[in-house]
Symmetry: C3
Subunit: 308 residues, 3 copies
């Protein structure tokens, strides 16, 4: 290191240590080990290999080798999922045991979570096949279902959501959140693992989509880039604290289409079955079924740049 | 692996294999090898090194070593491009040969594609120099053209589009799509490789930009974050299937500026030469040349929070 | 390499070399070495380890080992920061010395920058603790402050901004810009390092947020996805060149909330203390304190899809 720095190293170190002492919220010292974000991201890719055999692996799958491939992948995912779930359960973030001096109970519970998750793979596969079909049917630019699985960011985000939502239900919300934020980073779609999403869901383009924690979405819903399903305001208790657990985000019924940059807010807001919402709209009240919402034509003003 | 899982491994494997059989859309077993997304992403970086010598390589280029550098880079890109293009041509996604029992024809065609692509490098360089200049002229925060090439995400997205568009025209749409989706992930700009974009094009900030497959953009066009050039509705044939091949996305003529989050939809929509479109507008009809489109001022309501 | 290509290699090489000669804006030959984007991204992660001990490292920190950990991390960061800052100072992009035939002065200045930056770590930590608290208070879905530090993309973007803003002030704008564009790519939040941001700042979801170079933001401001603080037009001098150095972006006073996709433009635009701005609004004039801005209700048109 350079000389100037060397001579000040002791002083700098002490100043930083003092700031660790004075601000405990932003340090973890003498604390449980956090899960590894990198390992959890690898888990997503391993699970995708299991969900879509032959798409993401570097070997050709055949009728003969597929059973071996699945068995070994299951073993690998089971081990990694158990390890990381145990770290999630033990860590302070969402503590479920008392300090975890003995990590045994966390590990036992984590193994059960891994087993339960893997048993749900066939049903997740079934839902994702419907989602891929919905994307193919909904996008004239789509050349094949394989292209959707291989390339479409909206489909990637939905895949990770279907995985993360199950992990949340199985009791590892931190792992679910790490996965959904990774998908957010990769695709620009921010889907909270808690959102409940029906069958045949399609997000086109996807960047800027936000789907809040308590959103409820029906079947055959189609969403374009920049759509927000958000909270309007947060009901507070008599001490001014936000009341948790209420529905803060909208309900979207079956067969709704939300075009680019529509913003829909509020836990009481219900977009009825079959509604079409135009782009760049801002909606905070319910819309009755089978209607079209669009801005008034006179909203725009067109004037010439030419001097008269 | 943990004991619980081991004892159930056989049962889990069988359940998952059964789901592979019952849902063929989401598996590739006994099927041609897919191209490697990772290798195609590396190709983008190799091509950028060729396009912008001295910017992204880890050695200093001089008049003396540059010829050797270019020759060896060309050889490397030629090999990788041929390999991946052959996988694209052979794979089911966009099959061009009959099952590819003999991969020879695919490989021969891929080598020709690689050669044709590399011959276009000088003309791609010419276009990108104009794009970089347009970014410098259009952004007061820009310190130099080098900063734009090195840092600007919008320029990165345009660079990948200029590459992907040529590869699409040369017959490898899957490779083009993988590249454009990578740029989408890295920058938030979703430009379909099919879009036709004129000279001196500048995307500022870029996150949330969507430019659809059949968009046509003139020269000296400037686009800000969140702008969508999208489809309004999809004309269907008598059997209810979307008719492919029609222009579904807008035409933007020369010297147009589209501010943040403008949404412009429809294959019949033409934004005339010299038009300026304000932010957060929603346009589904043509705008005549040399005009300004903006929301009416009275659209906003401002009320005091203070009790009267 | 394939034969077709080999036979043409010489011709291709010459054509590309000729295009390097004819278009100097997009090449760096016989020029100073650029900093390494990859190394600067690693620096961000090393600095985050220093800022948030125990969150991102792969070992458990204890009262006993933390001093050693900090000392060795400081040494590592000091070396890497000095090296990359020297490259930034030497490179053409923001040249501060004359050709840098002797890199000594650049390296000496870079070492001073590294030392000054590290001395600011405790104060950056203090600000980030307030930002994390603001995120926890502002988001009902947040389970703990640790979850925010570990998972929230908006908090990541603010962390990188607090680092990059100091580096800009210390005289390495190119390093600052590379860091902020990396955060932009990872989170969809494009915060220019020059923006001045007060205490307890919270960006929720974050994708599509753009905060321009000359924005000024007060304390306790909350911003949602898709919000733009942008420039309206660029005042030009008598020769038609954009005048640099003026405030082109808005001022946001204390305790303002800006909902999703609000677009606020112009250097003269001041959003007064305590204002709430609804989503999808487009604002180019100042708003007085303690008011609410929202679209008129009649803006939307709802019509039935059913035939009468």
């Amino acid at each position: 290191m350079n000389q100037v720095l060397n001579s000040e190293l002791e002083k700098l170190t002490d100043a930083i240590l003092a700031s660790y002492d004075s601000e405990p919220r932003t340090r973890r010292i003498d604390d449980a080990f956090l899960p590894s974000r990198d390992r959890i991201v690898e888990l997503i890719e391993e699970i995708r290999q299991l969900l879509f055999p032959g798409f993401f692996s570097q070997k050709v799958l055949t009728r003969e080798n597929v059973k071996f491939h699945v068995g070994s992948l299951l073993e690998q995912i089971g081990t990694h999922l158990t390890d990381q779930a145990a770290h999630c359960l033990c860590s302070d973030l969402h503590r479920t045991c008392d300090g975890c001096i003995d990590p045994g109970p966390c590990h036992h519970q984590a193994a059960q979570i891994a087993r339960d998750f893997l048993a749900r793979i066939p049903s997740i596969r079934g839902r994702l096949a419907l989602d891929a079909q919905a994307a193919y049917d909904g996008d004239p630019a789509a050349k094949s279902i394989a292209e959707i699985i291989y390339c479409y960011p909206g489909f990637y985000a939905v895949t990770v959501h279907r995985i993360a939502h199950e992990l949340l239900k199985l009791g590892v919300p931190l792992m679910a959140r790490i996965m959904s934020e990774y998908a957010h980073s990769a695709t620009g779609c921010d889907i909270h693992p808690g959102a409940v999403i029906g069958e045949s869901f399609f997000i086109d383009h996807g960047t800027g989509v936000v789907i809040g924690e308590t959103s409820r979405i029906g079947n055959h819903v189609k969403i374009y880039q920049g759509v927000t399903l958000g909270a309007k305001s947060f009901p507070k208790d008599e001490r001014g604290r936000v009341i948790k657990g209420l529905q803060r985000h909208p309900t979207i019924e079956d067969s709704v289409t939300l075009y680019a940059n529509a913003t829909i807010l509020g836990g009481q807001t219900v977009i009825g079955r079959g509604v079409t919402v135009a782009g760049n709209t801002f909606i905070t009240e319910s819309i009755i079924a089978d209607s079209v919402v669009e801005p008034h034509r006179q909203e725009m003003k067109v004037r010439s740049k030419k001097k008269p």
